[in-house]
């Protein structure tokens, strides 16, 4: 299950960066690019929280005081 979520997250990230590159190269119009980036955002937001932070690492805290 975890690997499926990770793959979905990676696809989400890819959809956030590949459409802008395709737009830059003239292979995609702006509205389609925005749509795919929105889908990529959703894919990342709904899958990444289930595997990132799952293994609680005791990294240095950023809170001062």
């Amino acid at each position: 299950m975890k690997s499926v979520l990770k793959i979905a997250s990676v696809i989400g990230l890819m959809l956030s960066i590949v459409p802008p590159v395709l737009f830059f190269l003239g292979n995609m119009d702006l509205d389609t690019m925005k749509l795919w980036m929105g889908i990529g955002m959703l894919a990342w937001m709904v899958t990444a929280p289930f595997w990132i932070n799952k293994k609680e690492d005791r990294r240095p805290k950023t809170e001062e005081n």
């Binding site: 802008p20 702006l30 925005k34 749509l35 990529g40 932070n53 240095p60 805290k61 001062e64 005081n65």
Partner: protein, 468 residues
């Protein structure tokens, strides 16, 4: 879990090793710091700083060279000034300062710190509001606005402030985790913004990139009402925008966990992603906005990101602003709790949230963010200089190290005078010689060190028996 129970748990967690050195089994390698700093320096402020550089009419070459040099100086400051002290002492900034300057002075430091955190969080709420307001067709603030333009802006900001404060009271850990999760995506959105922006400005080759950068984006012409920035502004701003963290020593609290002092250099991932890539990308976004809206004085990061990247851009602005404002409100609450230890944390956080929300109503906080960031660092920097001078010069110059601790005092006059006189000196440079706030940190640091060493030698001289 009740809110009070949760707050107690959070406070207990953040008080870990507050007054003792970090034990060896808790130390972290360089990798931990690489990831942490990469996320920490890609924040809501980046959506404002890059565009403000464009508005201030900096030239393209000045910007790129200035950022490369200034960020390098910042990395060196973390690596050579903060990290060696952090790994030698392994104490929080606050406890280290208490041992030198005494509890009473640390209270004042906490108060200034808390106020600065409130204003910083307020500016981030305002940034998020520029994205939240898009569906409601909210009239956005302009570059020269100091006061709110419409009641709609005030309502939006106050509602957002209330929500963010409630989350700060109840769920800091969840927001912190959410910020970690969203960090890789936000970095990609910044890169995407740069790519799309360049395409919209007609860049198709290296030659056109150079000409568009120099003639369209960073063309050297400030917008009406803005001063002109040179390479020196960029160098000093990028060096000192985190002055409170490096030479101001706030990051002692983080770097005390480092196995080796070389972890201080790990911050390069953060500053070159957040303060190079993200500032350049957000500047490109703003240039696209200015091209599409000729003569517009509107300055709304949410609107700007939405026009170029759609919903993903607007959401990125909201998340970046929110995930910066939230921990900042929480930190302000903790700083104030140092002054009022008997008041429950949730009450203090609620008060801080109220002050922050009121501050966020004023767009001046966003429009003058560069000046505010410089002021924030400058106000706290002298105490970092005191810690530096105490660590390196106490033995060599013959005065007692950690004087408040060794004399069992709650107050250290040389530290107070070092703080106040340094700020007075900087104010004088600004008022009488017209030195801009961005350039005051460097001379101020030397003055603070000199005052502290001189006065400590007079007030806390090492006796012969102590010197041995």
């Amino acid at each position: 879990m009740s809110s009070i129970g949760l707050v107690k748990k959070l406070v207990a967690q953040t008080n870990e090793f507050e007054r003792t050195p970090i034990p060896d089994d808790q130390l972290k390698g360089n990798k931990s710091f690489l990831g942490m700093y990469a996320g920490e320096h890609t924040a809501g402020t980046e959506f404002v700083i890059g565009p403000l550089f464009v508005a201030h009419g900096v030239g393209a070459i000045d910007l790129v060279l200035g950022l490369l040099m200034g960020n390098l100086l910042a990395v060196m400051s973390w690596g050579l000034i903060t990290a060696p002290i952090a790994t030698a002492k392994r104490m929080t900034l606050y406890y280290q300062l208490e041992r030198i300057a005494g509890k009473n002075l640390v209270r004042w430091y906490n108060l200034v710190n808390a106020l600065m955190f409130c204003f910083l969080a307020g500016s981030m709420i305002a940034v998020s509001a520029t994205a939240v307001g898009i569906p409601f067709d909210l009239e956005m603030p302009t570059l020269n606005d100091w006061l709110p333009r419409t009641p709609g802006w005030i309502i939006t900001v106050l509602v957002m402030g209330a929500v963010i404060t409630l989350v700060a009271i109840q769920g800091y850990n969840q927001v912190s985790k959410f910020a970690n999760v969203m960090s890789p995506w936000m970095i990609l959105i910044f890169i995407a913004a740069g790519i799309v922006g360049l395409a919209q400005l007609g860049v198709g080759s290296v030659e056109s990139l150079i000409s568009v950068a120099q003639e369209v984006i960073w063309n050297g012409v400030p917008l009406p009402g803005m001063s002109r920035f040179t390479i020196w502004h960029i160098i000093f701003f990028s060096w000192f925008c985190n002055m409170a963290m490096h030479i101001g020593m706030s990051d002692l609290t983080i770097l005390r966990y480092a196995k080796s002092w070389t972890s201080g250099f790990a911050v390069f991932t953060g500053v070159y992603l957040g303060h190079f890539v993200a500032w350049i990308a957000s500047g490109i976004l703003y240039a696209v906005f200015l091209q599409a809206n000729t003569g517009s004085q509107e300055f709304a990061p949410g609107q700007i990101a939405y026009q170029t990247l759609g919903i993903a851009g607007a959401v990125c602005v909201i998340i970046a602003g929110w995930t910066t404002a939230n921990p900042t409100i929480y930190r302000a609450g903790l700083a104030l709790q140092g002054i009022f230890p008997n008041v429950p944390t949730w009450k203090i956080t609620a008060i801080v949230g109220g002050i922050t929300s009121l501050a966020a109503c004023f767009p001046a906080l966003v429009m003058k963010l560069l000046d505010f960031v410089a002021l924030y660092g400058l106000l706290l920097m002298p105490m970092g200089a005191v810690i530096f001078a105490d660590f390196y010069f106490a033995k060599k110059m013959g005065f007692r190290s950690e004087a408040a601790l060794s004399t069992k005092s709650n107050f250290n006059l040389p530290a107070l005078l070092s703080w106040v006189l340094t700020l007075g000196f900087c104010l004088g440079l600004n008022l009488f010689y017209g030195v801009e706030i961005f350039f005051l940190g460097l001379p101020g640091w030397f003055v603070a060190v000199a005052i502290f060493v001189t006065l400590s030698k007079m007030k806390y001289p090492l006796t012969k028996s102590l010197a041995k």
